[in-house]
Structures are given as structure tokens and as C-alpha cells.
């Protein structure tokens, strides 16, 4: 898929218009206070009117066959609007895990209903220590006793930080067999599965603890393959997250610039003071870098370029830092008003900080970059 600017602009306008109507701040606040964490009606409209869940899924599985570049445009707008929806979990984590598994039967079984917006899905990889290192997976999968009618396997263990884990119809689980970390599919109503929402810093992205007690599961792909799969999915997830972060950071910058132009103190707009002006310029620098790294990584993913994993790790660091910086300085530019619950600045701050740390944060992402560089 070529990077046609007109096509991308058109997509961006359509998504922006949709989100302006369906996910204004009051809708975000309403959704984040519900148990589910999103508005199923809006999720359906996203699928039916804009076909967003299937945008970047292959044609043969009911998608529209676009790439990470187009998906990135959508995610930038979702990040900017703080959309509450199980998009990242379903379309990025779960769908990419299925595709990365190479299991065509599983893809044919699950992806069409994901593309159609009928299935909410997620990937349960990390556990109590929050690590995405396959060596840290301790949930176990064993052969089900004959005659139990299960799909052949049962899983026992606990998964934490599972995005939209309480809302998902389909949970893809990384669990260890004698062959090593492997990917499994578990249905939400499976016996022995318990989902407990976590109290979260970011109010717009629900996380859950999933407890598995002899839960029937179906193996996806080959046994022992999930280690490599986690690495591939993590690279793609980092790029998708980077797009969200870049979009959120840009929105913070816009809020600050608007305010700096219109807020008067000492008889002048505060944006005419260099202390404020330079802060905004610093934000602009970080926002431009974030956007460039996120889009460049998406482009390299679409080209299947050898440099993709490095670009993904770069984008993850650059966008994590850029968003945290923009969201923090946005509060400073606004002053006291931004510290109130009613002001949206804290929602961005919460999203920014938790996005930075979602996949491990600085303690992990710097080492990951050096690893991807192979130096």
C-alpha cells in the first residue's frame, strides 16, 4: 500500500469527524465511568460506518487490507480524542497475535468477526511482574483429560495488566507447555475464567487481572512458538501505541498553544512571554519527533524492512517521552485550572504516563532498543 497523502488525509478527516461527534470529552468521561469502559453503540458505529476494526486486516479475513500506515492515522486520532474503545486490544494486540501465529485456521475462525466489530478480543501476555519477557511466563497449559469436551488444553495461572480483559469475548493467552511459551484462545464464558478489573492510573484504558483455573483452551499455531510471537507483536504494538501517543501529544500542544494565545496576564497574552513561548516550542519539537518516528516505523512495517524492529523501539521511546513531556508541560502552561478534575489535562497526563509504562517503560525499553540494534 503506497503512502498516498490524499488518501491518508481523507481517512484522517473521516476519523476526526467521527470522533468529534462520538467521542467528545463528555463522552470520554461517561465511558470511563461505566464498568465496561466503552460505549458498545459507538464501537458498532465505528465498525459499520468506517470499517475501522478491519482497516488493516487482510482481505481474506474480511478486512480492507490496508497497512500500519493507515492504521497509524486512525490511532493518532483516537489518541488525540482519548477514545474509550477496545480498539488497541482487539485490532492491534489480538489480531496481530493471530496473524503472527501463522495459524490460518485460527485466523479464519476469529479475524472476520474482529474485522466486523462483532468480537472484542485481547492478548493476555504479562503477569504479576508486568514483564513481556517470554521467560517470565508462568501460566501453564496442559492436555485436557480425555472426554471433558474441551478444545484439547486447559490453562491455569494468572494474567495481569490485560487491556480490556474484563470486556473481551476472546482472550488470547500466552501459557507455558512442555515445549515453552505457546499461544491459546480462551472464550470469555469458559468455566474457571475470572476477570477482575484493576484500579488504573489511566481512566480511559481498562486493565484487568484474569485468573485461570483449569480453563479449556485451544492451541493457536505450534506449541513453543509464542516467544518469537510476543517479540513480533510487541514491536507492532509499540508502533501502534506510538501513533496514539503522537496524536495525544499533538493534542496537548494544541491545547497549550490555544491557551497561550488567549489567556491574558499582566496585560498580554501569556504566549508572548518567552518562558511560555519556549515551553511551547519545546513541546512542538517533541511532538514533531514523535510523529516522525511513529509514522516512519509504520512505513517500515508496511515495507517489511529489516530496519523495522529498530524503528519500532525508537518510536516507542521517542513517543513515550514526547507524550509525557507534552502532557506534563500542558498542565504547566495552563496553570491551576489544569489541576482541576473538570479540566481534560489530567486525562492526557494519566494516559501519557501509563502508555509510557504499559510495556515496561524506561527500565525495559532502552535495553530493548540496544537488543533490536544488535550491537
Amino acid at each position: 500500500m503506497s503512502e498516498s497523502k490524499e488518501g491518508l488525509d481523507e481517512l484522517r478527516d473521516a476519523v476526526r469527524e467521527f470522533l468529534a461527534a462520538k467521542s467528545p470529552e463528555r463522552a470520554v468521561r461517561a465511558a470511563m465511568e461505566t464498568g465496561l469502559g466503552y460505549d458498545p453503540a459507538v464501537w458498532q458505529q465505528m465498525a459499520q460506518q468506517l470499517r475501522l476494526p478491519g482497516l488493516a486486516l487482510p482481505d481474506e479475513y474480511g478486512g480492507d487490507g490496508f497497512g500500519q500506515t493507515e492504521l497509524g492515522v486512525v490511532l493518532e486520532e483516537m489518541g488525540a480524542a482519548l477514545l474509550c474503545a477496545p480498539f488497541f486490544s482487539t485490532v492491534v494486540l489480538a489480531a496481530q497475535a493471530l496473524l503472527a501465529s501463522g495459524d490460518e485456521a485460527a485466523c479464519a475462525r476469529y479475524l472476520p468477526s474482529i474485522a466486523a466489530g462483532q468480537t472484542v478480543a485481547t492478548l493476555a501476555a504479562a503477569e504479576g511482574n508486568a514483564s513481556w519477557d517470554p521467560a517470565m511466563v508462568s501460566a501453564r497449559a496442559g492436555r485436557a483429560a480425555p472426554g471433558t469436551g474441551a478444545a484439547g488444553w486447559v490453562i491455569t495461572g494468572t494474567k495481569s495488566f490485560v487491556i480490556d480483559g474484563a470486556a473481551a469475548d476472546l482472550v488470547l493467552v500466552v501459557a507455558r507447555t512442555t515445549a515453552g511459551p505457546s499461544l491459546f484462545a480462551v472464550q470469555r464464558d469458559a468455566p474457571g475464567l475470572r476477570a477482575e478489573p484493576m484500579v488504573t492510573l489511566d481512566l480511559t484504558r481498562p486493565l484487568a487481572v484474569l485468573t485461570f483455573d483449569q480453563v479449556p483452551a485451544a492451541l493457536i499455531g505450534a506449541e513453543g512458538q509464542a516467544g518469537r510471537l510476543m517479540s513480533r507483536v510487541l514491536d507492532l504494538a509499540c508502533v501502534a501505541l506510538a501513533a496514539e501517543q503522537a496524536g495525544g501529544a499533538r493534542r496537548c500542544l494544541e491545547m497549550s498553544a490555544d491557551y497561550a494565545r488567549s489567556r491574558y496576564q499582566f496585560g498580554r497574552p501569556i504566549g508572548s512571554f518567552q518562558a511560555v513561548k519556549h515551553k511551547c516550542a519545546d513541546m512542538l519539537v517533541r511532538v514533531e519527533l514523535a510523529g516522525a518516528t511513529a509514522r516512519e516505523a509504520a512505513r517500515l512495517a508496511d515495507e517489511g524492512a529489516a530496519g523495522f524492529p529498530v524503528a519500532a523501539a525508537t518510536a516507542h521511546i521517542c513517543c513515550s517521552q514526547g507524550y509525557v513531556f507534552a502532557a506534563t508541560e500542558n498542565i504547566q502552561v495552563h496553570g491551576g485550572i489544569a489541576f482541576t478534575w473538570e479540566h481534560p489535562a489530567h486525562l492526557y497526563f494519566r494516559r501519557a504516563k501509563s502508555s509510557e509504562l504499559l510495556f515496561g517503560g524506561p527500565a525495559v525499553y532502552h535495553e530493548r532498543l540496544l537488543d533490536r540494534l544488535g550491537i
Binding site: G271, S272, A281, L289, P362, H366, L369, L373
Partner: protein, 433 residues
Amino acid sequence: MTDDLQDFTRQVRGFLDAHAARKTGRAGFRWGEGDDSVAYFSADPPDVEERKLRAARDWQRTRYENGFGWISGPPEYGGRGLTPVHELVYDGIESDYDVPDTGTLSVVGLGMIGPTILAHGQQAIKDRYLPAMYRGDVIACQLFSEPEAGSDLAGLRTRAGPAEGTAGRQGTEGREWVLDGQKVWTSVAQHSQLGLALCRTDPAAPKHRGITAFLVDMTAPGVDVRPLRQMTGGADFNEVFLTGVRVPDDHRLGGVNGGWRVALTTLMNERATVGSEGSGPVADALTPERLSALMRATWTWDDRALRRGLSQLLTDIMATSHLNARAFRQLQAGAAPGPEMSVAKLMYAQNLTRAAHFVAELLGPRIIADTGDWGTFAWAELLLATPALRILGGTEEIMKNILAERVLGLPKEPGIDTTSPFRDLPRSGGAAR
């Protein structure tokens, strides 16, 4: 990319393949082998500098004779009549080839002064100088900055007045001006035959409205070029003293007291430097391979804090190059330039500064005294150069003002300096003008 650009790209490759060799990759790096220079500023002895200048002029002549000497210039002055985007495309492709560095001619003279002469010069002046400049015969410099006019360029004080006995002559024929003052930070003045000088011609007018621009013959009596030794120890810039320098009126660019518009033309032509930072000894030294080799050689590879420092540095360097690459592709696709170039300039200065201090941390005492070991004390050159990067070509502070005002639409700082008569403005030291 449009068809036209694809065709142009083919022509450029054909020309370069015929006249130059492709660069070999950097893959051959081995610790301890080859040149370990990490110099940002040139550190060449005079004979080497002379040889490089000759090679630069020869290469510019080759470009010119093959239609690539002034790609965006009008054909009547030896140009190709194409767009600045074609120029960027050319630069991008040429950077894959091993060709002489023509920066001495191109950065200021061809990139900034040439377009200014084209926009504001009289016909005879354009005929006389433009083809000669783009053929590589005439080198030009920019006589703008002064000791008391740095960021506030419009505060310049070099005076120009009508030469006695010539002011009353009929028309402009035979009229002359006399210039007196001092310019500073003038790159390539020592090699230049021509300089573009901004001078104060009406101190009673507000600062932007009392300036006139002149083309100065750098070999004329009263022009004194003195090397300015910078903190690295070398002399990449000059001071230029103008004492009673006579300039014919036909060498005036733009109207009398209309020099600020001329200056804006010059500054707006400050060449977009897309991709140009991707080569040279500094870029070659700041790769993951080189820096990780340095960490291994200094037994710091296992230090977690330093590994994090390396990752942070590489992230910022790669992010800046992604920004450059995307801006370049967008220009190729015909989009208007965005703020990327200014952002990249800010980041470039910051990245090199951080890199130098990071490497200093790896090296410890080996960067404060030369042990003779390969690839160690050589970094002192970069360390000493980095303070300049946040100042030259527009200080970090001014760059941020420009970004905030032009991109984000933030209001200018209110002040009286643009409306009061220039001579009434307070100046450093408290003296009146």
C-alpha cells in the same frame, strides 16, 4: 514522486555516474583503524585547505557545465529553471557519491547571496556576477552580523553614506557610497571576491527602515579580513573591517533604506539542509556500531546507566534523521515545507552536544589529556565545537521564538524597538548611538 522528478532523478544519476564514484558503505568500520577525527570545524593546514578549495571550484564548474550548477536558477543566468525541490532531490542523490565538498562556495554564496542578487540586483549586476558565481569563479560572503548586532540583526551599526562630491551627480551614474564599520562571524570571507553588506543609512528611522544593502568588492581598498580564532583553536570565521570602502551605487541591492527586505530574501534562502548531516566525520562517529565499540573499548558496556545513556542518545539521533527523511520525502511529493527543518536544526545541536558529553563520560580522563590511544582524545574536537552549534545560524532561543510565533501562532513580545528612531534605542554599555 511525480514523473518530472523521476525523469530528473534519472538525469542526475546519469551525470553523477559519469563524473563521480559511489560512496562505499560504512560497514567496514573496525575499532582502531582509519582516521579517528571527530572534528566539526575544519582543522586543515593551509595547503590542504587550498587544495580542497580548488577541488570544490572544479566540481562546481563541472556541475555548471552539465546543467546542475544552479538548478533552481533562471536559464538566462546559467540556471536550469527548475524548482527548489529539484535542488533537494539533487542534493539527496549527490550525497550517495564521493564528490568534493563545495560548502565554501555553496552554503552562503550560491545558496543565499545568489538568490538575493537575482531578486534585488540591477540587470548589469546580475549579468556580471550570477553566471560567474554559479560557475565557481566568484565566491561570495555575507556581511551581516556585527559585534553589537547578533540575534538582533536589524540593530546593525555599520554606516553607509554618499561619497563626498558624488551625491549631487545626475541620476545614479557615478554616484558612490562610503562604508565604515565592523562585521563579524563572516564565514569564507578570506576566500571571497564579493560580500553582501547591510549598512545603516538612516539612524533617524526605526531600525528596520534605515538599512541599505550593498555588494562589496572584497578586494577593494579599506576591506580588511582578519581570521577570528574560535574556542576550538582554529579559525573558521573572520572579522571584516570596512574603513572608507567606496561602493558604486549600481552595487546597491534594493532601495535606499530598503535593505531589510533584501536581508529577508537572503535569510529565507538559508538552504534547507535535508540529509546534509548524514555524512562527514561527526555523523560517521555517531553510529550505533562506533559508539558501542567505544563503550566496549572503555569497559563501560556493562554499565546499565551508560547503556541507558547510549540508548537515549541513539533514540534522539535516529528520531532526528527520521524527521529529516520524512520532510525530504514530503517535499519530493510536492508538499509545502513544514517546521521540520527548524526542529531538526535544534535537535542536531542538542544531539551533538549530548553525544560529546556522553562520550566524555565514557572516556573519563582520556578526553582531558591525550594518551595517544586511537579514538579517544580526538573527541575533544567535537566537545569544544558543541557550544557553537546552539548559537550559529540563529541561537536556540531565537529559533524557539520563530517556531512558536510562526508555527504555533503565539504573539510576539511587545516592544518599542521596532517603532522608535534607531538612534534613540538604548544599547549595550548605556551609550547613545
